[in-house]
Amino acid sequence: MSNPVVAVGLNHFIVLSALLFAVGLFGVLTKRNAVAVLICIELMLNAVNLNLVAVNKFITPTAFIGQVFAVFVITVAAAEVGVGLAIIIAIYRNRLTVNLDEFDWLKW
């Protein structure tokens, strides 16, 4: 068994991306500010991208799928951030708050 510190393999990347995803997830679930939640979502998406590219390099380098997929993810993420921020701004205009705790109009 090679030295995990020195021999950096696929597992390292996967654990790293898992860590990033978990950190982003924690932020999504606990932050009060809507914009903060959005940037944590971006963090999660980046972790996923990292995962894809790592797998692409180590397991299917010639098929190139991982990078293609990652390009698409970036595209969609960018669009999503745009629309999301527009929505938050629209809500802010009406309610003068971006505190997620107060966005409870679908409450019972």
Binding site: H12, N33, E42, N49, A79, V81, G82, L85
Partner: protein
Amino acid sequence: MSVWGVVAFWGLAAVTLLAALLVVSLRNLVYSVLWLAVTFLGIAGLYLLLEADFLAFVQVLIYAGAVCIMVIFAVMLTQQGGMGRTSLFNYRNVQVAGPVVLAVFAVMAGLAGVLDRYAVSTERVPPDTVGQLAVMLLSKYVVAFEVAAVLLLVALVGAIVLAREVKPGE
């Protein structure tokens, strides 16, 4: 990987992770966004390590550039009072979210162990990433490509409509 590669990896990993933790834990939203930019740069570096150079370029351009600026704009537009305490934690949720997050991480990391059964390929990623990308996007995945284009258009229009200033009398 070469020695420099290993060193680069650990360094970039540490930076990225640290930055991500700071993004989530800081109370000042603007600081958060700045550290997000650092995270993106770290990830771009990791892409380079993984021989996805075009992707690293796109990452810096779009994420570290456009997205972060957009978010700063939004932060400024939704500012109330001082910036100091804009991004706080909801402590009630923290108690529940903590275990859930740890569990999710455990599952995902556990998969790393399972992946041992998949053979690591010894081939290298093709050096002409841009060309390869172009070929794939315009032949094999052309439908997805077109749909993504439409998606961007829709998002553009949608964002404009949503964030438009509604003048009195309209």
